[in-house]
């Protein structure tokens, strides 16, 4: 897969209980793009992301990752290409220690010995969790779990990084660290977030989901300048774009 594109065509998802989570979603994300998917609670963001590595099957519509359609046969390869960080890190950590957990993916890829050790150490220190390596995951704080969950995915060196609310629950320092890390990651990234400042900083492009439909898709700055659109989708401008709370003047540098 030379081109890590993500193409979603007419995606529709209805949960078994009849909830229409996605009505009709289409977009094309090119190689190396960094795209934010935003929207109110329950807009369908998590549902959409869970389709990208085959956890959910579309009720209707198609998904192509790279040159391949997402089908049963291509699923194992696609799961290796698409690294996914879930919204709830508890779902992602299942080994007895942090080290074992981060090593799980690379082991399955066939790494072993000191190369494996090195890869795990490196990924843990990239998310600032090197000191946690021998702890059991269920004894970590929420933010620590999140960091380790991100490390487990980085350890697979995915070509496309998909993250569901990566910064939720992180302290400001860890959030900064993650921002820097994501900026370094040159492949395709897709994430959902309620942290609109992060979106503004990291993504050239933003897709707004609203009640299971793509409400807007375009350059981040344009979207955040459209006050009517944001209000309609229960969103607000990022703080860094709002006028200064103390003096009411626009912030400099924008």
């Amino acid at each position: 897969m030379s081109h890590h594109i993500v193409q979603v065509k007419g995606l529709r998802h209805i949960y078994p209980d009849g909830t229409i989570a996605l009505q009709e979603v289409s977009f094309l994300i090119h190689h190396g793009e960094s795209v934010a998917i935003i929207g109110a609670n329950g807009a369908g963001k998590s549902t959409l992301l869970q389709h990208l590595n085959g956890y959910l099957t579309p009720t209707a519509g198609d998904i192509n990752i790279g040159d391949f359609p997402l089908t049963r046969a291509t699923l194992p390869d696609i799961r290796r290409t698409v690294g996914m960080v879930f919204q709830d890190p508890d779902d992602q950590l299942f080994m007895p220690t942090v080290f074992d957990d981060v090593a799980f993916g690379p082991l399955n890829l066939g790494l072993s010995g000191s190369i494996l050790e090195q890869r795990v150490e490196e990924c843990l220190s990239r998310v600032g969790a090197a000191h946690l390596r021998d702890k059991p995951p269920y004894h970590l704080s929420g933010g620590e779990k999140k960091r380790v969950a991100i490390a487990t995915v980085l350890a697979m060196s995915p070509d496309i990084l998909v993250m569901d609310e990566p910064t939720s629950g992180l302290d400001p320092h860890a959030r900064r660290q993650l921002l820097a890390l994501l900026k370094d990651f040159s492949h395709t990234k897709i994430f959902t977030s309620h942290d609109l400042d992060m979106v503004f900083e990291l993504c050239e492009r933003t897709i707004i989901l609203h009640e299971g439909l793509v409400k807007a898709d375009g350059p981040t700055r344009e979207i955040f300048n459209n006050a009517d659109l944001l209000a309609e989708c229960c969103l607000e401008k990022p703080f860094s774009m709002q006028n200064c709370a103390a003096c009411g003047r626009p912030k400099t540098g924008l």
């Binding site: 590595n53 956890y55 194992p76 799961r79 290796r80 698409v82 690294g83 996914m84 879930f86 709830d88 508890d90 779902d91 992602q92 299942f94 080994m95 007895p96 220690t97 074992d100 090593a103 799980f104 993916g105 082991l107 399955n108 890829l109 072993s112 010995g113 494996l116 050790e117 021998d134 059991p136 269920y138 487990t152 995915v153 697979m156």
Partner: protein
């Protein structure tokens, strides 16, 4: 519920102990699994009235615990958890089986009491050894060893998932019962009704979470094959370990050591 919850979480501590370092920890998992199997077969194969011959078998868990640095109190605590089940299993033996088998002075001990004690001893021996195996090897490595010893892969994977599922279930039930406790304002029972719906809810949630965890495993390249980063080979240490222990265990199974000792003592006195 809360205490059961913490007891199971404690089992995870056992898993952590498997990361320790001792001569026993370093042995290939297959050697440990094999000896444990021999041990369990030996212990289980006794007739229900056999009691004295079981005691020499305590040598295996005792030596293992002392060589590996697993806290013995921890294992004993876990075994205490088992007692209710064993009691339920063997409790009626003394009631139904009243035939006197042993006469101690004026006190007659019925077959029921002896078989009850025998069940208890055998449970402690087998479960305790199984705990020690997991504590020195780790469950994943045990499953992998079973597979390499010839167990079909499907079964080995099922076993591993079953084991993980126990944790997911207790975690979920811990959360649910905590939420219930907090909202029931200190009252003990909220009645069978809420309990019923809670159980149903719990199973659904557990199932969904187990599915998401499975998904996370698949997403990281899990294809039903076990891999562990401890590379181990079958060497002289393993062969010695297996020969010495299996030899001793089988010897103890064939010759009733307490009897032999008794006969020897009686012989030397007369």
């Amino acid at each position: 519920m809360a205490s059961l919850h913490s007891a199971v979480l404690d089992l995870r501590r056992l898993e952590l102990m498997a990361n320790g370092d001792s001569t026993i920890h370093r042995l290939d998992a297959r050697a440990k699994v094999l000896v444990t199997l021999v041990f369990i077969i030996c212990v289980v194969s006794y007739t229900r009235y056999e009691l004295a011959a079981l005691f020499p078998f305590f040598i295996f868990p005792v030596v293992m615990v002392s060589l590996t640095g697993i806290p013995p109190l921890f294992i004993i605590g876990k075994l205490a958890l088992l007692c209710p089940f064993v009691l339920a299993m063997g409790l009626f033996n003394p009631v139904f089986d009243r035939e006197i088998l042993v006469q101690l002075g004026t006190l007659g001990i019925s077959g029921g009491w002896i078989s009850f004690a025998s069940i208890l001893t055998r449970s402690i021996l087998t479960v305790g050894t199984a705990f020690i195996l997991v504590g020195t090897t780790g469950f994943t490595a045990v499953c992998r060893a079973l597979e390499r010893l010839g167990m079909p892969q499907v079964f080995a994977v099922q076993l591993l998932f079953l084991y993980r599922y126990i944790f997911v279930l207790t975690e979920e039930s811990g959360r649910a019962s905590r939420a219930r406790e907090l909202r029931s304002c200190g009252k003990k029972g909220l009645g069978i009704r809420s309990f019923g719906s809670m159980t149903g809810h719990l199973l659904l949630r557990t199932w969904q979470r187990a599915e998401r965890v499975h998904m996370a495993m698949l997403a990281r390249g899990f294809s039903g094959e076990f891999r562990t980063h401890h590379v181990s080979r079958f060497g002289w240490a393993e062969i010695t370990f297996i020969t010495v222990w299996s030899g001793l265990l089988i010897f103890m199974r064939i010759f009733n050591i307490p009897h032999l000792l008794g006969a020897l003592l009686a012989g030397s006195i007369s």
